[in-house]
Amino acid sequence: MTTQHSLSPRTVALLVALAIADALISLWVGRQAYLWMPPQASAEAVLVDDLFGFLTTIGSFIFIGVTTALLVAVLFQRADKYDTSDGPAIEGNLLVEILWTTIPLGLVIWIAAYSYQIYDKMAILGPMEHMNHVPSLGLMPPAEAATLPAVPEKTPIEVHARQWAWEFYYPDQNITSTELHLPVNERARLVLTSEDVLHGFYIPAFRIKQDVIPGSSIDFGFTPIREGRYRLRDSDYSGTYFAANQGTVVIESAEAYQQWLADAAAQPLTVAENRAFREFSRAEERPISMGWKTVAPAPPPRVNYASAEDSSYE
């Protein structure tokens, strides 16, 4: 242990100036972080992006600080060509070591507490949670919330995942669809089930994801806040046509949603377009197989409302 050298005021001023510069750059990077994400189409997305911005700010501060120190050392602290002597025999500094253990510890507690807070606000319903427990998001001003019509507790929409298709069933209207339509600004309630293997229900624009586990039904909820067409992706590897197992989510006004429900209910069942099945059938027709034997895809779902393949989305 070497004796503690006192720092000159000039060094302290320089360090403080560098730290401020680092902080300013990091704050700027943290603001950019919002631009790296898909559109914020759900109440959850707003919260997650705030958390990501916060994490990016802290991460940038540390990354810039450490790499700058290394860069300065590499550029200015090189040994002369014929200098074979050693550097100063500094073996450590207890105060510094305690500081760089306790400050990160405090930082970690802060990050964990903030993440917990965000998680609490999101309150994505896990399977262990009571189904009717829908915490308020605390995002909507009470006055505005009061003007919304009191929606009676609806039966959740059933999401059926299989190799390789998504199918949605609206029990109240007895409608099936390969496109998930939801009204804007209203908490969506879903029940996720899988008929074969693990799938993942993932809508990047909503920042939400839940594995769908065969043999259990999982209650799931989120609140879309922006009208538009979004991509639903299978996020848990589900076999050969995993990458093709995508769907479209349409968020629309309450009126448009009701209209869609009415229109869909009037439609007869038709066979939906299904990419996995189409590719598989085509491959079967080829005289020479280019790949290995695969699990055959389930036949395309027969639904009231069939989504157009590769429809535009955000």
Binding site: L47, A73, P88, G92, Y119, Y202, R207, Q210, P214
Partner: protein, 561 residues
């Protein structure tokens, strides 16, 4: 510990084959010399690294366009499964076992590992399960296509209906790999506990040995879980049991616990010896003692303990109850504290030194920068709400490739260059080394950085095709992938030509402190003529104190500090 016990062990075990050959043929025998086994591990692993890398380059070729057009989807799925499996079980673990095998006895002043025959047996299992794994390319139905996690029920779907299929071979290989690693772990832990030279107390042991000890303890408590999980899955697949098959009452999530209870700590099995390498390399090329040695080595052990309590962070989206999400979020983030201690200590070691930017130092510095980046994205991933968005996306793929390639592979390169003169008795070519570093560092960032924005945008991992919005970053990543393939060429050229033609290396070409540098390059079969008596700490740069009280090289070599 007493001196007598060490001498007794060394004398009793000794070399089972006295007068073992000292020529190239010995690398193809059941040699019990830890140095031979070390090099056997490293070279075998590197061959598999090239195979795994070729598979990755085909994948990057597929991903350079959004459509699934280069290879069939089944082929792509087999490629990423085998890429991951080969890179972990056939490259990273064996190469690190090789380095540890070579270095630990030399660093602690022992003549060999505690159980030389067990050591050789553990190594020779590697080509056995390696062959088994590669053979799966030639069975009907092809290799496993269920990802390196082999999550049921996908891994239990057997489209060919054959008893011998890619998944069965995969499980056998992984189970054997587990057995081999457990054999290695028993050996390392015993060696480090029992065979340190007189005078080498715990706090005189080089940081590398501390990290090997910490890593191998993880193998001991973690591997049984993975191996058991693999055997249960094998029984489900072949013998009709139903541990994990939900259609027959099994629980697929249970398998995930078995798998991650080992496979997350496995990341620390990989990264800890890399931390050890950094702790060895920075002092030598900065000419300064390792800053805060005690904090650094104790933090390795803390990482070992914490690593047993973080596995559920891989399952935040798996239907995990909230209390578990929060608990494992906190334990995961906590690991960044001992890790941060190390990072800051390395920066402080480098700071104010007299830097020499030889190839090992360049790789160590590059590896440290990549690790720092990976560590920061790792803490982000620990935050549950953010993880739910990027879980199973390319953000995770980018994160762990910064760990595995950016930090671990660069660290392995640093170690190979640093100890190459010791292992072979020849110097490598510095120019080729620097070229290798430049290509690797640029390649890593070009290949793996774009994966982060892709993940944030919502591109899932393991996809053979993707929406056109992701094309831009994928093209850059693919170019980086091909560059990484090219980057291995100067390395291979350098290693082969220097080993044959390189300038003769002195016992201590880097002017480094450490028992391994007191004996000739390459070391004689029994390493030390005289067991060293250690009288000071491992990083006495700048204090010019002797490390040992005797001359461990005996008459062989009088050149020592």
């Amino acid at each position: 510990m007493s001196n007598a016990s060490i001498e007794a062990i060394a004398a009793k075990s000794g070399q089972p084959f006295p007068g073992a050959p000292n020529n190239w043929q010995r690398f193809f025998t059941f040699s019990t010399d830890h140095k031979v086994i070390g090099i056997q591990y490293i070279v075998t692993a590197f061959v598999f690294f090239l195979i795994g890398g070729l598979l990755a380059m085909v994948m990057r070729g597929e991903l350079i366009t959004p459509e699934a057009d280069l290879v069939d989807r089944t082929v792509y799925n087999a490629l990423f499964t085998m890429h991951g499996t080969i890179m972990l079980f056939m490259w990273t673990f064996p190469v690190l076992n090789g380095l540890s095998n070579y270095l630990v006895p030399l660093m602690i002043g022992a003549r060999d590992m505690a159980f030389p025959r067990l050591n050789a047996a553990a190594f020779w299992l590697v080509p056995v399960f390696g062959t088994l794994l590669m053979a799966s390319f030639f069975v009907p139905g092809g290799p496993s296509q269920s990802g390196w996690w082999a999550y049921p029920p996908v891994s239990l779907q057997n489209p060919t209906g054959n008893l011998i299929n890619g998944q069965v071979l995969w499980l056998l290989a992984v189970a054997l790999s587990g057995v081999s690693s457990i054999m290695g772990a028993v050996n390392f832990v015993t060696t480090i506990f029992r065979m340190r030279a007189p005078g080498m107390g715990w706090f005189r042991m080089p940081a590398f040995c501390w990290t090997v000890l910490s890593a191998q303890m993880i193998q001991l408590f973690g591997l049984p879980s993975l191996t058991a999980g693999a055997v249960m899955l094998l029984l489900d697949l072949t013998a009709g049991t139903s541990f994990f098959d939900p259609a027959r009452g099994g629980d697929p999530v249970l398998y995930q616990h078995f798998f991650w209870f080992y496979s997350h700590p496995a990341v620390y099995v990989i990264i800890l010896p890399i931390f050890g390498t950094f702790s060895e390399v920075f002092p030598v090329y900065a000419r300064k003692p390792l800053f805060g040695y005690r904090f650094v080595v104790v933090s390795s052990v803390i990482i070992t303990v914490l690593s047993a309590m973080v596995w559920v962070h891989h399952m935040f989206a798996s239907g995990t109850p909230s209390w578990m999400r929060m608990l494992f979020m906190f334990s995961t983030m906590l690991i960044s504290v001992p890790t941060g201690v190390k990072v800051f200590a390395w920066v402080a070691t480098v700071w104010g030194g007299k830097l020499r930017l030889d190839t090992p130092m360049l790789f160590a510095l590059g590896g440290l920068v990549c690790f720092l980046f990976a560590g920061i994205t790792g803490v982000m991933l620990g935050a549950v709400p953010f993880d739910i968005h990027v879980n199973n996306t390319y953000f995770v793929v980018g994160h762990f490739h910064y760990v595995i390639y950016g930090a671990a592979v660069m660290g392995v390169y640093a170690a190979i260059y640093h100890w190459f003169p010791k292992m072979t008795g020849h110097m490598y070519y510095e120019g080729l080394g620097k070229l290798h570093f430049a290509l690797t560092f640029i390649g890593v960032n070009l290949n793996f950085f774009p994966m982060h924005p892709l993940g944030l945008m919502g591109m899932p991992r393991r996809v053979a095709s993707y929406d056109p919005e992701f094309a831009y970053w994928n093209v850059i990543a693919s170019l980086g992938g091909f560059l990484l393939g090219v980057s291995t060429l100067p390395f291979i050229l350098n290693m082969i030509s220097s080993w044959i033609l390189g300038k003769r290396a002195a016992a201590n070409p880097w002017n480094a402190i450490g028992l391994e540098w007191l004996i000739p390059s390459p070391p004689p079969v029994e390493n030390f003529e005289e067991i060293p008596i250690v009288v000071s700490g491992p990083y006495g740069y700048g204090s010019y104190e002797p490390l040992v009280a005797n001359n461990p090289a005996g008459e062989l070599n009088s050149e020592h500090r």
